[in-house]
């Protein structure tokens, strides 16, 4: 009852500040500005995210999400704002995943990484700058996410994900996105996601190439490509051919698209298939995986 009153109250404030926006297709839309959202959030002492959700529920679009509407709609944006996504690793893949999820408007990000930025990260890790070398990746990533989207909340864990702490680190997440750089950790995350009954968006890179797969708890997952034995490689050819700047951006962008599809229900995630991206030849292949 009380929350309904608060909702109505906020709805009234939003309605008073609503603006009309002429979309490129000639359609008139009701929108609300960043400034209005922030001011209602401050005066009513409620999270900006809640103000945005209340607006969207009335068909009023926060201006910042206008260009998201055509793909995921009002309902999709509400689902994203209400969701929690964990990003394990805030380096090459993870940095770009965090950047894009914040822009997309995922309401709560959990960022896990125990590393600091070093000079060799500068070529590809989008969060790293000459200025922030030596700083913890999670600290930089949380700051950046907040600068991009002040309505979202960010939880950081400056530790390495292990079998022992997965529940604490990943609990509450609806999807986990992979920003790791070795296979043993990925197997730990996959196992944890199965236990938590949540999907895991696997992504890897090496040179001009990358791989992607969305693994739901009931899917065959990583054993279907690496085999079930313990004789798995820790690292791949990236140790020899390196990771140029564009490759993590390509794979991370596809991973973010998977997260968006999973949460909004729009489109079809890449399940029980491995997507192989070769940007040198501009080729994308899918292999159907079987048990």
């Amino acid at each position: 009852m009380e929350s309904n009153t608060v909702d109505k109250d906020i709805a009234r404030y939003i309605a008073e500040a609503v603006e009309s926006y002429l979309a490129p297709d000639g359609k008139r839309l009701s929108v609300v500005s960043l400034k209005t959202v922030a001011s209602i959030s401050r005066s009513k002492r409620i999270p900006a995210k809640e103000v945005e959700i209340t607006a969207l529920k009335q068909g009023i679009i926060p201006r910042r999400y206008l260009r998201n509407m055509g793909t995921i709609g009002l309902d999709g944006q509400i689902k994203l704002l209400q969701s929690t996504v964990a990003v394990v690793g805030a380096g090459g893949l993870g940095g770009t995943i965090i950047e894009l999820l914040a822009r997309q408007g995922v309401g709560h990000l959990i960022i896990i990484d125990n590393d600091r930025f070093t000079e060799q990260n500068l070529n590809r890790q989008i969060m790293s700058t000459e200025e922030n070398l030596g700083e913890y990746k999670v600290t930089v990533a949380a700051k950046r996410a907040g600068e991009i989207n002040s309505a979202i909340t960010v939880t950081t864990f400056r530790e390495r994900l292990t079998r022992e702490n997965t529940q604490k680190l990943l609990g509450g997440a609806q999807v986990v996105a992979d920003g790791l750089d070795n296979l043993p950790s990925r197997l730990v995350v996959e196992q944890a996601c199965r236990q938590l009954a949540i999907p895991y968006v696997y992504g890897t890179i090496a040179g001009f190439c990358g791989q992607l797969m969305t693994i739901f708890p009931e899917d065959a997952g990583l054993p279907s490509i690496y085999g079930s034995s313990n004789a798995i490689p820790e690292q791949g050819i990236e140790t020899k051919i390196g990771n140029p700047p564009a490759t993590p951006a390509i794979i991370a962008a596809l991973q973010v698209q998977e997260v968006v599809k999973i949460i909004t229900g729009v489109g079809k995630p890449v399940r029980n298939q491995i997507l192989l991206v070769d940007s040198r030849e501009c080729a994308i292949d899918r292999i159907e995986l079987r048990r």
Partner: protein, 94 residues
């Protein structure tokens, strides 16, 4: 003898200059031996040119699936007409 198709992906396709080949073989081991004879030297030479030295046979540094099943998970190593081997390098970075 079964006629099988071998498909190369990502870097292997670039380095071998082809996306597939066919082989006549009855068992997976036989197919891998032929693959090594046909492409092993060429692949390692291309990798060497790019400054990458890899020891062993193609199968030692590749991920290989037979009809979408990892070789380590195969219940039978016998091949049948129309089988497809998928081969690509492990990419594990992030």
């Amino acid at each position: 003898m079964a006629l099988i198709t071998v498909r190369f992906y990502s870097l292997w396709r670039s380095y071998l200059g082809t996306d597939s080949t066919t082989l006549q073989a009855d068992h997976i081991d036989d197919a891998l031996t032929q693959l090594e004879e046909k492409f092993g030297y060429q692949l390692r030479k291309k990798l060497e040119t790019a400054g990458i030295h890899l020891d062993g046979k193609i199968q030692d540094y590749s991920l290989i699936l037979l009809n979408g099943i990892a070789l380590r998970n195969l219940r039978s190593t016998a091949l049948k007409e129309g089988d497809v081997l998928h081969i690509f390098p492990p990419a594990i970075g992030g």
